[in-house]
């Protein structure tokens, strides 16, 4: 599958230990920024009951889903602890403070 790298904004547009949402045709994407300024992106749907992960508390390299507190690893999308499941991941590249998401097929940014 062909990957298009789409610019979605600046690292500083996302609060540290927070997240923002990127709307896409395939559903919302949560883009996270950790305390050490790493950026991760997952589809904004908790593997449990679809909770919006972008609204969770970010800690270490994990996020806790706001609906029922499942903890999801930002690096792999895997659910941590005893629960099972995986949130779909999206590749990220950072270039000069700009965030680009690796999205399948041709996509274009509508606005930032």
């Amino acid at each position: 599958m062909k990957i298009d790298w789409i610019d979605v904004g600046d690292v500083d547009d996302i609060p540290i230990m927070g997240a923002r949402v990127v709307r896409s045709a395939d559903g919302d994407i949560a883009v996270f920024r950790t305390a050490d300024n790493s950026i991760f992106a997952l589809y904004d749907r908790c593997p449990h009951k679809g909770g919006p992960l972008s609204e969770g508390i970010v800690h270490g390299r994990s996020v806790t889903c706001p609906l029922h507190n499942w903890v999801i690893c930002l690096e792999t999308g895997e659910v941590e602890g005893p629960d099972h499941g995986c949130a779909a991941q999206i590749s990220v590249s950072i270039d000069g403070g700009r965030i680009r998401l690796g999205l399948p097929r041709a996509s274009r940014a509508a606005h930032g």
Binding site: P15, G56, P82, L103
Partner: protein, 813 residues
């Protein structure tokens, strides 16, 4: 080619066979599961809490469709098997399709018994067996409506309790002289009945139902003695009959149930059976523990371990009615050779009876204090000689050892390894202890995940906790004398607060550094707590950390299950006006808000608002003078009031104005947990002040101040703090109370558990007796609130934290 295994019956026993099979021989069979119900598997025993409204159906689903898919099981729900062609080795389904098998497992459960009285088929007569029954009951239920439950056994009483919780007027009619007579003796039956009646159930014993009457629909129940009990709903819970239908239809050996041998094999070698549908050595069971034991043997057989046998089960029973502890096991009928040991504590409503025969326990009934149930059940099952501890048996093991008060931890420590801790899942002490050691388990939740103990009905949670304590010893002791805030630290809440003060820690990163947090930046448990503690310690100075707040507090609205939000404006003292209502109506129309609901807190909830709409919705509400109601916060929620002396013929003071004044004085404050208040105009207490965190009841001579009430998961009436004469005093005392709670309550601890911890006398000392202390608390409260009494909605409508309410980007494919 793989052998084909077909399972008929997608219930608790059948699915347990599949689980056990996965442990023994995953992938050995090509498995197809037929279930007559349209759902994947759920925990049938939890239908009672679902009926009572304590759980939702989703909470009790144990295996969803994904589980079947992951394990390669072909699940056909809503498909009944009509017959089995044993010659061709094929099952025939309700849709006419046929499917071949090599091995067949029948797990068809049982049928609820319908007593053959006239009217039994009227609409509104319901049994209690599956979720469809619960739905039917709920559809017919409703407050003010009437139900009759026929049958005062375990099932009937759980049904009655559930319908009572739904606000119905419930009568239980029972054929025998005492309720649950098969599990309880007269004394325990009496105590149980008394407690049920105290809760509002009517119980009629020795009641023989003549007919169910009604015109096109249930109208009531007539007893043989002529009494008529009107009813909108009749629940028939008189027992179950093993479902041997398929066996009978296909010529398998049946009696009451489907007959199996010790290998759980029916009269056809290719067909096994398990669960309530079977009859084994003349015995059928109606509880899950024996079914789980059977399931192990069935799985062994299917995995080729043909020497595995089932030898019958001894069962014990617990009633799942919240707040009533009943345990029973074995026999205690009249046997002239049996001896009884009985202990009664009338004041505390405790009754314990142990029945001995030849110095061995053959039965036990415990009411009111069931902590010893597991130990006695163990002694019963092992048939151990108890003559040595006979005299102290009924007091528990600690006393038997000469100690003073029974120590529950020692009691658990004294259990042998094979003692059963979790009856539902058949998990014994040894297995839990082993898992704690091997897997480093620390919490009840860990044990639940790894061993399944306490994962079904949950009544053994306390035992599991004590087992953890006794196994981990020092390690857990430390943690238990001071329960750590979370897994990131060993400090407890109070210690953290003391250290914040002593070391003058002023930010979360500083605190984590100084107190050696074990995680880089905490977790979703500790960060909100730390943020609150710092905010409380340094009012006006500490910069609130939005990223350490739960989403609701970060975006000033309540997240809903579909990711939308609810918006609740403040309605001071529950009073509103035409202008406010009009403004709310306009907002609803303008933003097409799907649901408008009056809350239990005397205000209006707008549900289903999209996140991007929030700032605009708030701006419009602000324009009409409406501000945030903090329905989302660990903060002051509502101040409910009644109409009071302004209107009511009984009112003694202006409770409405008092409530508004209190709300104006205290809104916007952050607290360890949410805080609710109420003011009633007289002791009739229409504002329900005595189940609020802070409640005021007006009397002729002034105002009674009540604290520490609750009406949530735990209902607790308030303690009377004191009486004061004037409204300004009400406000001063209230603020002092809130400040003391803010400074000393632990995060997520409501006022009532805090008060139970420190004692009401301590509050009186700090707030009532010591005027100096009260004034200082009041002053600190005013100082703190001067920084936070700002409408967060207005700030956001004006552009604060705008990033929260807009996407980073939109990309289109």
């Amino acid at each position: 080619m793989k052998e084909k295994l077909i399972l008929i019956g997608n219930g608790m026993a059948g699915v347990r066979v599949l689980e056990e099979l996965l442990e023994r021989a995953p992938g050995r069979y090509e498995v197809t599961v037929f279930g007559a119900e349209p759902h994947p598997t759920y925990n049938r025993i939890m239908l009672s809490p679902v009926l009572a409204g304590e759980k939702q159906f989703e909470d009790i689903v144990t295996h969803d469709r994904a589980w079947y898919a992951q394990n390669g099981f072909d699940l056909r729900t809503g498909t009944r098997i009509e017959s089995v062609d044993r010659t061709a080795r094929e099952v025939v389904a309700s849709d006419g399709s046929r499917m071949p098998y090599d091995r067949l497992v029948i797990a068809a459960g049982s049928h609820p018994i319908l007593i053959p009285v006239p009217g039994k088929d009227l609409p509104g007569v319901i049994t209690f067996r599956d979720i469809a029954d619960v739905d039917a009951m709920l559809a017919a239920a409703g407050s003010g409506r009437r139900a009759v439950v026929i049958g005062g056994g375990l099932l009937g009483l759980e049904a009655a309790n559930g319908l009572l919780a739904r606000g119905m007027t419930v009568t239980v009619v029972h054929l025998m002289a005492t309720v649950m007579e098969r599990q309880l003796d007269d004394a325990a039956g009496y105590l149980l009945r008394r407690e049920l009646e105290r809760r509002g159930l009517a119980v009629i014993t020795e009641a023989n139902t003549e007919c169910i009457f009604g015109d096109g629909r249930v109208g009531g129940v007539r007893l043989k003695d002529g009494r008529e009990i009107p009813a909108d709903l009749v629940v028939m819970a008189v027992g179950i009959r093993p479902n041997a239908d398929l066996g009978k239809a296909t010529g398998l050996a049946t009696n009451r149930g489907l007959i199996v041998d010790d290998r759980m094999v029916t009269s056809d070698e290719a067909i096994l059976a398990v669960g309530e549908c079977v009859e084994h050595r003349g015995q059928s069971y109606g509880l899950v523990a024996p079914l789980y034991e059977m399931a192990k043997v069935v799985a062994d057989q299917l995995a080729g371990r043909t020497d595995s046998v089932y030898q019958g089960s001894v069962t014990s029973t617990k009633l799942k009615v919240t707040g009533i502890d009943v345990f029973s096991a074995g026999t205690f009928g009249a046997d002239k050779d049996a001896e009884d040991i009985v202990f009664r504590d009338a004041a505390r409503g405790i009754y314990k009876r142990i029945v001995l025969k030849d110095d061995r326990i053959v039965g036990t009934v415990l009411y009111g204090d069931t902590a010893d149930g597991a130990r006695l059940f163990q002694l019963l099952r092992s048939s151990e000689d108890v003559s040595a501890e006979r005299d102290t048996l009924v007091f528990g093991p600690a006393l038997a050892a000469g100690g003073a008060a029974p120590d529950p931890i020692e009691a658990v420590a004294a259990l042998p390894a094979e003692a059963e801790i979790c009856g539902c899942n058949g998990v014994c002490k040894g297995k839990i202890v082993e898992a704690i050691g091997a897997k480093g388990l620390q919490t009840v939740e860990d044990v639940r995940t790894h061993t399944k103990a306490s994962a079904s009905c949950g009544s053994c949670t306390g035992l599991v906790e004590k087992l953890l304590k006794s196994t981990l010893g020092e390690a857990f002791q430390q943690g238990s004398s001071v329960k750590p805030v979370c897994g990131c630290t060993t400090y407890g809440h109070d210690e953290v607060r003391k250290l914040i003060r002593a070391k003058e820690l002023r930010s979360i990163p500083e605190l984590m550094q100084e107190l050696a947090w074990t995680s880089p930046n905490g977790c979703s448990k500790c960060r909100p707590a730390l943020n609150y503690y710092l905010l409380c310690e340094y009012p006006g100075e500490y910069r609130d950390d939005a990223q350490s707040r739960f989403v609701n507090e970060r975006v000033h609205a309540n997240i809903q299950k579909d990711g939308t939000y609810s918006v609740v404006p403040r309605m001071w003292g529950g009073v509103t006006s035409a202008a406010e209502l009009r403004a709310i109506a306009d907002v609803v129309d303008r933003y097409q808000i799907p649901t408008v609901k009056v809350t239990g807190g005397q205000r209006i909830d707008l549900l289903g608002v999209k996140k991007e709409q929030l700032p605009a919705v708030w701006a419009d509400l602000n324009n009409a003078g409406l501000v945030s109601g903090h329905a989302y916060g660990k903060a002051l929620r509502t101040v409910k009031t009644c109409v009071g002396s302004e209107w009511c013929r009984f009112g003694t003071q202006d409770s409405t104005a008092m409530g508004i004044a209190l709300e104006r004085a205290t809104w916007g404050v952050w607290t360890p947990h949410k805080v609710k208040m109420a003011v009633s105009g007289c002791p009739r207490n229409c504002a329900e002040a005595t189940v609020k965190d802070f409640g005021v009841v007006a009397v002729e001579s002034g105002w009674e101040l009540h604290v520490g009430g609750a009406a949530g998961m735990h209902v607790r009436p308030t303690d009377l703090l004191c009486k004061v004469a004037t409204p300004p005093e009400v406000i001063e005392y209230c603020c002092a109370f809130l400040q003391l709670y803010r400074e000393e309550g632990r995060y997520l601890e409501r006022p009532w558990p805090w008060i139970e911890r420190v004692g009401i006398a301590y509050l009186r000392k700090r707030i009532v007796e010591d005027a100096e202390s009260r004034r200082a608390l009041h002053a600190r409260f005013r100082h703190a609130i001067s920084f936070t009494q700002k409408d967060p909605w207005a700030e956001r409508a004006a552009g604060a934290a705008a990033h929260e309410f807009s996407p980073l980007a939109e990309v289109v494919a």
